[in-house]
Every structure is written in C-alpha cells, then in structure tokens.
Amino acid sequence: MVRLTSTLRPRWRYIAFKVWSERLERLDFDGARDLVLRALRDVLGPVGMGKVRPWLMRWDEGLRAGILRVERGRESRARAALSLYRRDPELGRVFLEVLGTSGTVKGAERFLSRVPRWDVERVGDRSFWIYENGEVDVVEEGRVVAYTSYEDPEPEG
C-alpha cells in the first residue's frame, strides 16, 4: 500500500457521542456502527454520507458511547445528522447526544469520561436506572416506560 505524505493524507475530526434510546437492547460495535451509518444515510442521503466519510473508531458497550471519525470541515453536518435522527427501526426512539468534537482520538476519549454514571435497581419486573444527577428511567421489558427523577429524602430531626 502506498503511504501518503502528511500533506496528502486526509484530515479527520473525532466526534464523541452517546446513544440514548427507548429500547435498551444490547448494542455491540457492529450494532453501533450500523446505527450511526443509518442515521447519516437517513438524513444526508448516500452522497452526503459519502462526503462525510464516517468511520466508527471506538465503542464502549457499557457506556453506550463511542467515537466517530469524520472528514474535517464536515463535522457540523455529521453532528446535525446525528441530531435529526430520532426513530430507529431497532432501538425505537433514539437521541444521539454529541458529547464533543476533537482533532485527536485522545481528545475525544476525554469526552467519554463525562458520560453520567448510573446504577440499576430491580423491583419485581421493573428496573430503575438511577443517574448520578437525580434522573431516573423506569424500564419494563427492556423499554423505558417513564422518565422521572429522584429526590434525596430530607434528613430526619
């Protein structure tokens, strides 16, 4: 393979993103890649997607967050396309939150550390996904059925 000189090599930007969805099915690397490509193709069309030149670099299954590589100068279009993609055939209603954009993979990885952490508590058939800032998702049969919040009980006395 011909190695390109630094001036001929394409320039990239790295978008860190997180997937929020109505259905909380397991999303592995291939699933995430297909989701991102569907989003870009759905909004920008095949030609627009080709111009963006997307490539999924990293995917953290636990966080449901990853890093997408796109061509420099087209990152705004890619982010807008991710924002406009709201209904997925596999995950139901989705929200692809852009955590940040960087010129390096290392820079983009820093954004992944800002994803809010959560705990899962199960009560009967229901599970409660409790986020660190007080947000709570109520999940039944792998699907979010209510969005609510958690208030710290007031200290007694």
Binding site: W20, S21, E22, D42, V43, S76, R77, R79, A80, A81, L82, S83, L84, Y85, R86, R87, R93, V94, F95, E97, V98, P116, N133, G134, E135, V136, A146, Y147, T148, S149, E151
Partner: protein, 233 residues
C-alpha cells in the same frame, strides 16, 4: 412534557447546558385548565433549589376559533413567563400575531403548503413584535419525505425573514428527555437548515433573552403563588 415530571425535564436540560428553560403546558384555548398552569408555576418555583438553570413556566394555547383565543389570552397571560399560540389556520395566525400579549406564534406553517404567513401577517409580526417560533419538535419527529417537506417549509419561512426581518425564535418543543438536544447540536441543525451563524444566534440566544427581559420589565406582572414578582408595568 405533559407525561414527564417537570423536575426530570429540568435536570435533563441542566445536564445539557441550558441557562434558562421554559416548561410549557399545551392548553386548549376553548377551555384552558388554569389549575394545571398554577400547579406548573408552583412546581417550577420549587425547582430553583434543585437545578442551576433558571426554570420558568410557560403555556402554548391551541385554538380553533380566534374568538376563543382572544378570550383565553387575558386569563392565561398573568400566570406565565412565555405565552405561545399554536398556529396553522389563517385566522389563528392573524389573531396571535396581532395581540401584543402573545409572545410567539408557533408553527404557522402547520397544514399549509408554505410558511403560512402572508404580507399582512408579516407586517403584524413586525409591528406588534410578536415572534414567529420555529418548533423543532415538528422536524425531529419526522423522517424521510415528511422531514423533507418540513424542511422546505422552514426554508420558505427563512426566505421571508431575510426579506421582511420579522422577529424569529426557535423552540425545542421536547415532550421528554429523548427529544432534547444540547445547544451546540441545535446550532448544527440550524446550520444544516440554512441559517447563518448570526441568524442562529439571534434566534437561539438574543430573541429568548429579549422576550423574557421585555416580559419582566414592562409588559406583565407575575403574581402566581410560588413565583416571585420580578417586575412591574
């Protein structure tokens, strides 16, 4: 937001970096449920200790008859910081734009094959300083061909705005946290729709600030239980 608890929406918007959030209730102008609105005002007042963002109550009136809309506006106005009217029908569009107590006319293009505003409506919007609101939820809930049609109507609105300079603002219209967007992503969407950086900033930052400043400073007095009186006419 009707099906989601207000604190959850406030927490989600706070996490996404918004400074000011207006939680709106959608009410029918023929029979507005003012108890619901007072409940929202009290809830938003309690949220101030929980979130950094300033959370304020608002209302969107949906009307079928301009007469009912005119009767509902004075009842609802003192309870909210932001009053929008859901447009679409020519009579409703005109009645909303011609009333200085209405802050914004939302989705005037609904049901129309164009932006839904004629020469007379544009003059009214400029004269009465009533904002025309782009409801992004109508865009975000669509895909494929329907999304393309919605974009074409918004482009129509933008073309008119560039010629006639009427006040324009953008609302997310999210009903639950999955429909929210961080401000940065919102700018990217507006860029994709064809708004320049200056136009996007005007619609996203300056217009809402101006609206709230105007309402607080000289237009209305807020005496809802739980909401501080922040200005006098």
């Amino acid at each position: 937001m009707d099906e989601v608890d207000p604190l959850r929406m406030a927490l989600a918007t706070d996490r996404l970096g918004y400074e000011v959030v207006i939680l709106t209730l959608r009410l029918r102008a023929e029979d507005p449920d003012l108890d619901e609105l007072e409940w929202l005002a009290e809830e938003t007042a309690e949220l101030r200790d929980r979130v950094d963002a300033l959370v304020l109550p608002g209302c969107q009136l949906e009307a079928e008859d301009p007469g009912a809309l005119r009767r509902a506006i004075p009842r609802v106005r003192p309870l909210v910081y932001y009053l929008a009217v859901g447009g679409g029908r020519p009579g409703i569009n005109r009645a909303a734009l011609g009333d200085t107590r209405v802050d914004a006319l939302s989705h005037p293009e609904r049901g129309n094959p164009h932006a839904g505003l004629g020469k007379h409506e544009l003059e009214l919007a400029r004269e009465k300083r009533t904002y025309v609101e782009i409801d992004l939820a109508r865009l975000l809930r669509r895909s494929g061909e329907r999304l393309a049609w919605q974009v074409s109507r918004l482009r129509d609105l933008l073309r008119m705005r560039r010629r006639k300079r009427f006040p324009l603002t953008v609302a997310l219209g999210a009903r639950d946290p999955l429909e929210l967007l961080p401000a940065r992503q919102l700018e990217d969407v507006l860029d994709l729709l064809g708004l320049s950086e200056g136009e996007a900033r005007e619609a996203l930052v300056e217009a809402p600030r101006e609206l709230l400043r105007w309402n607080v400073a000289c237009k209305h007095v807020f005496v809802v239980p739980g909401v501080a009186v922040v200005g006098h006419g």
